[in-house]
Symmetry: C2
Subunit: 422 residues, 2 copies
Amino acid sequence: MASATQTAQFPDARSSDPAVMGWMVGSPPPPEHILRFEDGSYFRFPAMRWSVSNFRQLMPTVNISRGLNGSAPLLQALRDDIDAVSFVPLDSETPMTWADSLPANYTDGIIILHRGKVVYERYFGVLKPEGQHGAMSVTKTFIGTLAALLVAEGTLDPERKVASYVPELSVSAFGDASVRQLMDMTTGIRFSEDYADPNADVWAHAAAGNPLPKPADYRGPRTYYEFLTTVQSEGGHGEAFHYRTANTDALGWVLARATNRSVAQLLSERIWQRLGTDQDAYMSVDSIGTPFAGGGLNTGLRDLARFGEMIRSDGTYNGLQILPPEVIADIRMGGNTEHFARAGYTLLPGWSYRNMWWVTHNAHGAFMARGVHGQALYIDPTAEMVIARFASHPIAGNAANDPTSLPAYAAVARHLMAQSPP
Amino acid sequence: MASATQTAQFPDARSSDPAVMGWMVGSPPPPEHILRFEDGSYFRFPAMRWSVSNFRQLMPTVNISRGLNGSAPLLQALRDDIDAVSFVPLDSETPMTWADSLPANYTDGIIILHRGKVVYERYFGVLKPEGQHGAMSVTKTFIGTLAALLVAEGTLDPERKVASYVPELSVSAFGDASVRQLMDMTTGIRFSEDYADPNADVWAHAAAGNPLPKPADYRGPRTYYEFLTTVQSEGGHGEAFHYRTANTDALGWVLARATNRSVAQLLSERIWQRLGTDQDAYMSVDSIGTPFAGGGLNTGLRDLARFGEMIRSDGTYNGLQILPPEVIADIRMGGNTEHFARAGYTLLPGWSYRNMWWVTHNAHGAFMARGVHGQALYIDPTAEMVIARFASHPIAGNAANDPTSLPAYAAVARHLMAQSPP
């Protein structure tokens, strides 16, 4: 768990503001303000704060079309009493206001919907309402939701083995896992995801998926799919929740084989074109055009909020039943809390993971999508509230931002319920 | 001039259809159907026919936002009498129908507007109404139009020397040219643009602008801007029209300095957000994020048609005066026909070039934007007609597709005038 002390190593949100720092501004930008994908400069803090709103300028991407339809109106009911809402951070005894939580979390943009209307909306740094931001692991939640939709429709059998959809994975640890185990991340695979460890598997995964030409001496897997075939087993399947990005990439491969569509096409056809989005979304791709299912999605903040509101509304939005209600019920039911407890998330007691959603099992039945550096889509059915947040926290792990965000969300939920009786 | 014999070296439009060929389809695609930017496979014919509709999947790009506004309705008045319109190709004595001209020109998508309404619209291969296609040198026309707008507003002085806006260009042949000479491509610069010659300057320009990491032994300029500083003089300025892509890149640099905005930002703010476009557009960028002003724009076909209709309508569209009428008048007036004649375009007798538009000076006062491989935006004020076309002709030069397109456009114009009296 990250403490305030860890964050204190980094410049704060205001002094790391990417608009103030002037990354990539100028014709040409001064050399010290140029960010490149090839040398990794783009993802070092604080430069990363610019890059998360500009991934497409750094790498190839595939479009997720909204089609040519009009967007669904996002009604406004802005209120000025949210900033003063107070809460006590998880790692502190000193109350903090909602307004102060936003820089504490290096928030780039945040929207609160209450009963489907925008009650609060803020943008910081270089993110604009008409921009897109990396959703990071919130991507996984979209992929898991698509999988749950296909299960509900009978296109995907959650009990079938992964290798029966993707024979190439029979040589990997994924082969004899079930699709359901991928969807709930209870596979037993060796895949270390400690971003602070340069030898972690997640870096081999990133090297495989890197769309740039491989170095001449590179001997590893050359695509996301090739990487997945090399994943070895560690422990048994179905015994515990292990958060592993590779599960989502494997699930993306299963979806592609089950539907003859890439996850980008599926996301466009099944969700983005129906949700009344304002903007196309996009995904990063590897060298053969495979979308990065584990974390490559970029969306507008308002469109992320629309997706959350559709989920809160039992799958209905923009006048359409976009997901069957049983998919939403299955997400809200959550996964196996004992499996989850074995993962040791001390900040998330009693939670579970289902269809790539994080389920709190709290008194409000809240559940959420979570991405590294603080992306969040938080749905509180009891408070009729949806929060969509993009962020660029310097620490790559939600334990660094949970202390000042989870209790803040709960406090705003209580506030909205108290101030706006049904 | 390309003849039918040259085209006959290539598979025809139907047998090179990128949807039929299955480029980049599959999870993963079969190796022989994988296209890569790094090895040039993406731009060999017929693979290029897929790539022109998918440039963003191959390279980094910058978004040209349409904002979050609704789109301007593109009213339909479809008619079924266009396909049978007959014309005689420039290099032939045998009449051809409009319908047959489309595969002859390897058309990927085409829209005809008459009096602002869509009378004809077709898509082929992998282009869809909700997709974007490389506009190639039609990009130049957008940049030249932006420049003309800034001149009309007084932000840009066309008589000032280029070096007074961009001091770095004082060491190049551009330095003592006027902005107007850039806008009309009458600079005297050494820049061979023979795509068939591997030593042509256009390839050095492409190497400089290539966003991929440079090879270790690469010694050339590393960005578009660096390339421009190396351009040497050849002949005097203001004496003749010489079609040179580098002029537009230099003009883009001037615009960036005059406005403190990239051409992508300018295009978004001044045109794309006001035109009621359906879709964001995008531009390819070099390794430091500079948009490729000479050819990097990608748009939806309907949005290209909207731009044309705005030009035809004296700058008014979507209820807004997007360009002042004097800009349109200046484009229609055209450039110096004697300067143009010195360039030796035998298929374009009596034409001129102004603000990066090609002006026919024919009886209808038609003028157009032209891109390599057959992109076109053709405006016939007399016939109240706009034609927007994307294409992927195997031969990199409009002389290959002019014979079956220019007389076809004129024939449709006459047909519309005859069939729909005012």
